[in-house]
Symmetry: C3
Subunit: 187 residues, 3 copies
């Protein structure tokens, strides 16, 4: 009788545990971010006259393009290298907390769309390390999602999604991107 009761207890326990043992793995797959941060970065493209202030430059262009004026047809084919200041708020003149470094290529004739490969590079008391990004940026959409493909230092082995929003856009001269980073893999 006691043995039967304790066997029953074991079976209940077994049922309970088989659920709880499955849980940890599922938990790592939850869509709740393990880390969320917001940054802004600021891009001033070189136009032949602003070498002092420019943070980016055209370094590749199609046959019909040149290196100081973004081409027609939605800049299709222009490759731009950048080293943009990262700030915590949307003020270009705030103290930078890091640099956004990499490139974008305008890759569509009909509308503005670009492909991005870049890193956020931090070296301050607050953050050390880098976050690496890649993905398509259909920049006329209000929000665009790209991938966090890796990280180092404080962001060791990070993976996630970054949502880009154009926070300001002054013709060809200046744009500011709000970047909401949500990491779903943290180490």
């Amino acid at each position: 009788m006691e043995a039967k009761r304790s066997l029953l207890a074991i079976f209940l326990l077994l049922s309970f545990l088989s659920i709880s043992t499955a849980a940890p793995t599922r938990k790592t797959r939850t869509r709740k971010p393990c880390k969320s941060t917001v940054f802004y970065f600021h891009d001033i493209i070189y136009n032949g006259h602003n070498a002092k202030n420019a943070t980016s430059a055209i370094v590749g262009s199609p046959q019909w393009g040149n290196k100081t004026i973004l081409t027609g047809q939605n800049h299709f084919g222009d490759l731009v290298v950048f080293d943009d200041p990262i700030t915590l708020d949307n003020n270009l003149h705030s103290k930078p907390v890091g640099r956004a470094q990499g490139f974008y290529i305008y890759d569509k004739k009909d509308i503005f769309t670009a492909w991005l490969g870049f890193s956020f590079v931090f070296n301050s008391t607050q953050h050390k390390g880098s976050i690496n990004f890649a993905g398509a940026d259909p920049l006329m959409n209000k929000t665009r999602d790209i991938s966090v493909i890796g990280g180092t230092g404080d962001f060791f082995m990070a993976r996630g999604v970054a949502t880009l929003m154009t926070d300001a856009f002054e013709g060809e001269a200046y744009f500011r991107l709000r970047t909401d980073i949500n990491l779903y893999e943290c180490w």
Copy 2:
């Protein structure tokens, strides 16, 4: 006596559970894809005369190259930006289900080899979101594996391997790549 029997049961249970608790983590490492799909994309390179039909253009080239003719030495150094239609079958004229957007760089003098960074961008009733790819494409091989480095929307946090196969190749004018995507991390 009953106590001994139930303790035996507990030890058997323990042995069983210690195996089953290890299993979930291993399971996430199986090489069985959690999602498999096949797409085709179609690339028509700009040659100076086909602006209307072209889906890609040379935007970088070595000293000895130019922007309308792929260079000798297996196109070493040519950087091409593309916005190619994606179809479900191998017919260029099938209704596109998305766009393959990004770049490739021919990076070897002896044979045709390229490095790819691009995205599949979907915005239809069937698929929304993007898949991001990077990797080496030794394009004379029958099949080539590149990495799925991330995804957004329907492909949130995807990781996997994409196998490229040249399905058609018409000189410098047109090529079609079959892309077998196997995801091993799905969320």
Copy 3:
């Protein structure tokens, strides 16, 4: 009495298991690499006169640059495509075990910094497959961490961190990078 004793045993077991069931997931997050390797790769940039030995070439440059001389301002804006031999030791003339293929872009005016997108491509008896890398390379630092964003073949689904060290640097003519690869996700 026996039933009480066995129930106590079950509770002890339960406490023990609830710890051990949590363990497997944490274990996959340990910072102990599942694979570590060291490689060297060697870059000789094309300068207009060394076509035979060069392993890389400038294919994009800012307005003020050209394709045979790295520009001033810390080469800001120069895009270089490479196909560099990989060796197991730091001797350029050792038998290559693979090729490092991809690109780097110098992306800062004040100091030497580049953004890298490339692959190690192996096709020998020892290694088959590829490792894909991306990240920022502030190359004046003694060590720099970039991300392993994926892999194929022997390196199927790899993720990790690669530490770059400039092992030799001969002006603009030649550099050698030591690459310590630590994978934290192996399949």
